[in-house]
Amino acid sequence: MLNQILDVKGLETRFRTDEGIVHAVNGVSFTVDEGETIGIVGESGCGKSVTMLSVLRLIPTPPGMIAGGTAEFYGQDLLKLQEEEMRHIRGAQISMIFQDPMTSLNPVLTIGKQLTEPMLLHLNMTQEKADEKAAELLEMVGISGASERLKDYPHQFSGGMRQRVMIAMALSCNPKVLIADEPTTALDVTIQAQFIDLVKRLQKNLGMAIIWITHDLGVIAGLAKRMMVMYGGSFIEEADVKELYANPQHPYTIGLLGSLPRLDGKHSERLVSIDGLPPVLYEPPTSCPFAPRCEFVIDKCLKENPILEEFSPKHRVACWVDISTGRSR
């Protein structure tokens, strides 16, 4: 049994807006073991990023606030730490990479300056040592002529290379957890594949756990072991990757998989889309948030919000309907 390093329980995040309080994350719980990769999928606006930003306490407050829950990292509740202590966790213990490599690097600072910054902040390195290490890191993520390129600015790098720089930066202090917030979305497909290979290799060498947020089920399939599907600020299905793809139980998961082209499927099959948009929750959900878009909807769905229940060992789903019969479980 591997050590559990991150244990999030009942996380709730809200945003105060002019239209009312938006309940962005509603009681999310998950755990991360040492060195494992978990995937969080869901469409835009369902709370994936906000969940991870909440764990790192990067939600702008106000308007955002973390209303409840705990996030224990090695037994220490991140949500209760002082800002000062939190700073020593960010970048050093838990680091994060973002979707858009074009905007997440500062255009007026050299790559070297940005790459060495976490090491100077957390590892008390001298500038020379940090420069050396930065060159090694660039080499490690597959950028050649590293020590020369440290003097370059971000606009002299392509998108894929910038994302490599981002990951080098995120890994510079040997973090225990890497949160990847849709890091491949802005890359084209060939670069995506290279990047995923790189991440796998880095994980094998460095042994950090990865939380991979994406809406691309194809990307996550080859990467993660365990997967959570998120909708309306809650996890609605959780299973091992193979199980989830082979035997999806929530109508939303089925919809997501149905909208995905498959090479091994029947060729003439039409891709199915899910009608409608994810809800903006001004109240904590009292009915199933997916009900308005669900084809299996029954009365109970509109009266009570389902919670995650065990469907089979290691496979949990939050749905009132048994989709094989179309009736209540």
């Binding site: 990067l58 680091s95 910054e117």
Partner: protein, 325 residues
């Protein structure tokens, strides 16, 4: 470096740069161009050749003539360039620093911090600039004259150190003090424009992902603000600052002209023009008492404006794609 190259390529800015270089040569070389008389106690006090009130026209001895009280105009114009640079650069430096800090903090923290700082800025902006500066100068001169300045002494000493290299441990020189009051008055009412521009720029850049990215690596607020956001927001400030140098010299000249800036006989262009106040009806005859210092001011301001204009074109992000800045 590319900025300087571009400044030299653009014809307008080239003119500006050339004029400025001439002024710099004049300021640096003042002791050789207009040698200090042997009996002089203060190089910045214009030497006099007699005490007659009537100005005398350009001659071999005084190539720009002498103004009322027989002050040598050539000496004043040459040494006045030093005063102009000192005053312009120091006022701009201080107002820019104040403006950048106030604007950056205001934009970065937002909320009530922003509210308080921006309302304060607006209160200062509500005063007509020149009138406020004139009033403030006379008030400050009274306060310092009575020796009741208290905390203001500290400020004057900072400005004195930056302007004259005056040792802060020593007492303030009364000749300098009069200039310092004028400078302080301009500084009091001169920082708001920069603060507002800076606030807007910070508001724009803090939304970029690299601001969040900087936070995820564990950087502190101040580090994010000054290391990551400021370099992205500060370029437009350079443009405004370079134009401000000219504008502040002009304002200071106005103060001097009214007898509030530099002391009588000090090598300052505005002060020199103030000698002409009594000779307005006969300016056709005594043209040299206005023209030389006047042209000096005009060209100085013009040069800074040309450079500022060109800087704006060079640093404009929409035009930036063509090169690599």
């Amino acid at each position: 470096m590319t900025i300087i190259k571009k400044l030299l390529k653009n014809p307008t800015s080239l003119i500006g740069v050339i004029i400025l270089s001439l002024y710099i040569i004049m300021a640096v070389g003042a002791p050789w161009i207009a040698p200090i008389p042997e009996n002089s106690r203060d190089a910045y006090m214009i030497p006099r050749d007699g005490f007659s009130t009537t100005p005398s026209p350009p001659s071999e001895e005084h190539i720009f003539g002498t103004t009322e009280g027989q002050y040598d105009i050539f000496y004043g114009v040459v040494w006045g360039s030093r005063t102009a640079f000192r005053i312009g650069v120091v006022i701009t430096l201080i107002t820019t620093i104040i403006g950048v800090v106030v604007g950056a903090i205001s934009g970065f923290y937002g909320g009530w911090v922003d509210e308080i700082l921006m309302r304060l800025t607006e209160i200062f902006q509500a005063f007509p600039f020149l009138l406020a500066a004139i009033t403030m100068t006379s008030v400050l001169q009274t306060i310092y004259g009575r020796g009741e300045a208290g905390g203001l002494i500290f400020m004057a000493k900072i400005v004195a150190f930056l302007t004259f290299g005056q040792n802060p441990a020593e007492n303030l020189d009364p000749v300098q003090l009069q200039i310092l009051t004028g400078m302080l008055a301009i500084i009091f009412f001169g920082w708001m424009g920069i603060a507002r521009v800076m606030r807007g720029n910070i508001l724009a850049v803090k939304e970029f992902e690299y601001a969040v990215a900087a936070k995820t690596i564990g950087a502190s607020d101040m580090r994010i603000l000054f290391n990551h956001l400021l370099p992205n927001a500060v370029f437009p400030i350079l443009v405004i600052a370079s134009m401000n140098i000219g504008a502040y010299v002009l304002t200071f000249a106005a103060l001097s002209f009214l007898g509030l800036g530099a002391q009588r006989g000090y090598a300052d262009w505005g002060q020199m023009i103030s000698f002409a106040r009594n000779w307005v009806p006969s300016l056709v005859e005594h043209w040299y008492i206005v023209v030389y210092p006047g042209v000096a001011i005009i060209l100085f301001v013009l040069a800074w404006n040309l450079v500022g204009d060109a800087l704006r074109d060079i640093l404009d992000p929409r035009l930036r794609g063509s090169g690599s800045v």
